[in-house]
Subunit: 575 residues, 2 copies
């Protein structure tokens, strides 16, 4: 205020910029931006009087756009700690994230939220947390923590918690499950935002929104987008999966105020290759939206939806001084990034030190098997007089495609059901992080050797293991536990590649190049075990997602065995 009134000189003045005014969707020339204490103090037509310490930045005619605001994101999916992650995403212009948090909350509960907020302290990238509504993700599986109405009310009081994130268990929601509805009610009572998930069609879309859910991160076509928008749902476009929708919405000439943008999930190596929210923004522009509206989607619209427009999303008095310098709008190449009034990146390179802090003890060593597992823990027993059984076998992409398991005949030896490796049939197990239970079933995944285990398992983040032998499966799970979490590829008892993820079993604070190299190697080594590549070229990445239990998933494997998550009914594995 005092800087705006001219009573105190600004810390920094930006001159010769063209303001991208996201409030009115205009470009405004000849504006000076005064900054003080990391916040915008004033916009002015006249040059503010600099003090002796004032830094003057010549924008040299660049466009000044607000720092990008991601409406829905999971840092954990990058495998990097929040501060490492900030190092690679700030140069792409992401100065604010609304973080989903159920990845870290499932193992750690509110401690996970505290860790995220602790990491965010003093970080130029603002991290607002949406408290997990999905702990556990469904009532039919076991997470490391439990967040019900009471815990949510407590968590919502934390500074930096901006709402409830992503309501995704449609079965529980529509069954009126007490835990989930209590969490939603806590969110509504707090005056904060309740986020959704998925792209439901009517009448489910209406039912979903009637519960108080306000939004979804969207992939789909224009008709689906309009159906949700006209029902008052804020759409966070995943542009890469919504190209058709963007074209159709542009053609329909809609008002875009209820449309935002998000990245959702992106592994570190993909961020390096593609970019971050800037990449999604370029897609929106490519598909025909004018650049200034596109920038609104990725800044003010997201900030308003999350009720943080007084903090971020616009270059205006009182807000964080998060400013992107762009030489050209349609190509949206971020030349320079200011966050909290400091230039933090130039031409894609970080220009400030973001120190990595030792991770606190409560996020480390979060995997506690009672004792190391042995091969026999993965045995599937039937009565010893049987020679064959039928098994309900899942395939790699069934999880997203409303398909029942296929029935396969499997051989029994000494009362133990065997894999059928020539037919690509492996064993898969979900091992609780506390050693409290294992769910096992058979999947057509194509591994001919070894086993791949990991503590990244959306969304409980128990340990998943896929294997061609019980011995290697036990070895792999034990190795993940030894590392305090991570990913390992075992063949004939030997470690072929691994990525330690000691922070909550999900993240590391090692430098990006090392992590990317490790991630590449686990994918490569896992691919070698699976000549048919049924899990795709990056089998490790695929494995992280195939045990999802949220909408629109159907029959899935949990620590309690096969479950139809649409009905809550267990599904017989063998008969």
């Amino acid at each position: 205020m005092e800087v705006a009134l001219g009573q105190v000189p600004p810390d920094t003045i930006i001159e010769n910029g063209v303001l991208v005014d996201v409030a009115t969707r205009r470009l405004v020339d000849g504006i000076y931006v005064s900054i003080s204490g990391g916040r915008i103090a004033a916009l002015s037509k006249e040059r503010p009087k600099p003090g002796s310490e004032t830094k003057v930045i010549d924008a040299a005619g660049a466009y000044l756009a607000p720092g990008l605001v991601d409406a829905h994101y999971h840092i954990e999916s990058s495998r990097l700690s929040p501060r490492r992650h900030a190092q690679i995403t700030l140069p792409h212009g992401t100065t604010t994230l609304f973080e989903g948090s159920h990845e870290i909350c499932n193992p750690l509960g509110l401690d996970g939220v505290k860790y995220l907020l602790e990491e965010a302290k003093g970080l130029p990238q603002k991290i607002f947390v949406g408290l997990s509504s999905a702990t556990p993700p469904t009532p039919y599986e076991t997470a490391g923590a439990y967040i019900g109405g009471k815990e949510a009310t407590e968590g919502l009081k934390l500074e930096g918690v901006a709402g409830i994130d992503e309501v995704m268990d449609y079965t529980a929601l529509f069954n009126g499950e007490d835990r989930l509805h209590s969490v939603i009610e806590a969110g509504l009572a707090s005056g904060k935002v309740v986020e959704g998930h998925g792209v439901p069609s009517p009448p489910q879309a209406d039912a979903f929104l009637a519960t108080g859910v306000s939004s979804t991160h969207f992939s789909g076509d224009g008709a689906k987008a309009l159906t949700l928008l006209e029902r008052g749902c804020f759409l966070e476009l995943k542009s890469r999966d919504s190209r058709q929708a963007i074209r159709e919405l542009v053609a329909a000439g809609i008002d875009w105020q209820m449309v935002g943008m998000c990245v959702d999930d992106r592994p570190a190596e993909k961020i390096s290759q593609l970019g971050h929210l800037d990449y999604e923004l370029r897609i929106v522009i490519e598909e025909g939206l004018d650049p200034v509206t596109a920038i609104q989607l990725a800044t003010l619209n997201n900030a308003r939806h999350w009720r943080k427009e007084h903090e971020v999303g616009i270059i205006a008095p009182g807000r964080h001084a998060d400013i992107l310098f762009l030489s050209d709008l349609p190509s949206f190449k971020v030349d320079r990034v200011m966050a909290d009034g400091v230039i933090v990146a130039e031409k894609g390179k970080l220009t400030v030190d973001i120190p990595i802090r030792p991770a606190p003890i409560y996020v480390m060593n979060t995997i506690k098997l009672n004792q190391p597992l042995a091969a026999k823990d993965f045995e599937v027993k039937v009565s010893s007089d049987k020679l064959k059984v039928n098994a309900a076998v899942l395939r790699p992409y069934y999880f997203s495609a409303d398909l029942p398991p296929i029935t396969r005949e499997l051989i029994v030896e000494n009362g133990l059901v065997q894999r059928d490796l020539p037919k690509d049939i492996n064993k898969v197990a979900i091992v609780r992080r506390d050693g409290g239970g294992i769910g096992i079933s058979f999947w057509e995944l194509g591994y001919q050797h070894g086993a791949v285990a990991m503590s990244v398992l959306h969304d409980t983040h128990n340990i998943s293991v896929v294997g061609a032998t019980d011995f290697d499966m036990a070895k792999a799970v034990n190795r993940v536990a030894e590392m305090g979490g991570g990913i390992t590829v075992i063949r004939d008892g030997a470690i072929k590649a691994e990525v330690p993820l000691p922070i909550a079993g999900l993240m590391t604070d090692r430098p990006l190049p090392e992590v990317v190299a490790d991630l590449d190697r686990v994918n490569e080594e896992a691919a070698k075990l699976s000549p048919g590549k049924l899990l795709g070229p990056n089998p490790v990445d695929t494995q992280t997602f195939i045990f999802l239990t949220c909408f629109p998933w159907g029959i899935v494997l949990t620590d309690k065995g096969l479950i139809n998550v649409r009905t809550g009914q267990p599904v017989q594995t063998i008969w």
Copy 2:
């Protein structure tokens, strides 16, 4: 949710309507609206299955628009109690009000808020309260209550309090006054909205917004509007005073998401004549904005600004079933009003009973003079040897026009300064409601007889009295106190006309025609006392506003005498 899913039949179905989709700014045909428990359950393309109790409403091709949401309003200015006020404004389509509350908070503090919320219970018109930031309006005057940071934090916890209303004491704001800044901080900490007032220009505009204020109710031209919008200020247009701005903003082709609408103040008789927010909306359309965007301004945009878009402002699942039926959009004539799922008005007439409840004891008898005043309480004494003095005399519209008082010579008799009635110079006094003090000065207002007193005095709502004789001034103030508040016109000791306003000294719950008749009569009788009509044709209405102390006012009369509210300095009355 269960109704949306078809598990429970709706209470009501609306068919054959054309949905005004304020999210995307389109008209959508062929939509059925299902309603349950006063809320929208679903929109559907297929006819929902009615139950045996389901009411089906045929919209007969009418447009269905969301109920109007007023972003900034003072019910007290109507002189009617909230429930009486709802009776006359619901037929105009106003189904939600964001109520400023400082009128009632100045005499009553948080009790005033509780009264508003109590009246709103079970009322089809939703009343959200913005807690007063202006109690007292300035540090230089005395209100009946005090709301600082502590009181604000407490008030913000009340269900139905949606933020802090209107920050208007620029002097205190820019001086960093602790009380006002503590109230703003309490608002920001609560996650709710902090509302502004006035149309500041840079650099004051920047300073104002830098404190955390988010909005203003706007009158002015397009350039001023753009200046505020590009600084991130949400504009609540008072259309009647912003016709030029509307034309200019339409011509500029701006995005309207940061623009809303409000009525602010309107006496009951004007509501009857002109309408309510529907009147403002018609003006916006007249000035060239397309009707659907205009409806967005008065519905979704206001609701989003106040962070209540999950409750009101759009016809969508989960929201209150507040729906206007319109045969034509450009003329915006509200044919039928539904609120909370019930038709409450048809063709401008209320069709439901809105019972008037007895006002609670704590809002009654709020004027407590220690003892009746006498003529001598209005004497202005100087040393008895003086024959003449100079006096700082104010004129009727000086309060808004940055003008210093004029100097007039006044005669002294027996040590008492006299009026100069031939030159239209009256005495004016502000009497504290608790009898604790009187501020007196001389004004050029033109009364030749009698006195006019009232307990409606923006914004402290102490008692103001303008008089041609001290005797009538005392009589008038005493009569206002006897009534427990109201307006009275006295001539030669006799009551010529009066309006009792026993609720907080500001409102009545009598029926509109009686109140309008009384208000007309006090204006008429007061006008008869003032042949020159310096206070305009409705001198009583003018008197309510001429003691405002907020921006952009300059030298004003308070209970402590003349004050320059821009500096806080007292101004000498006579010398």
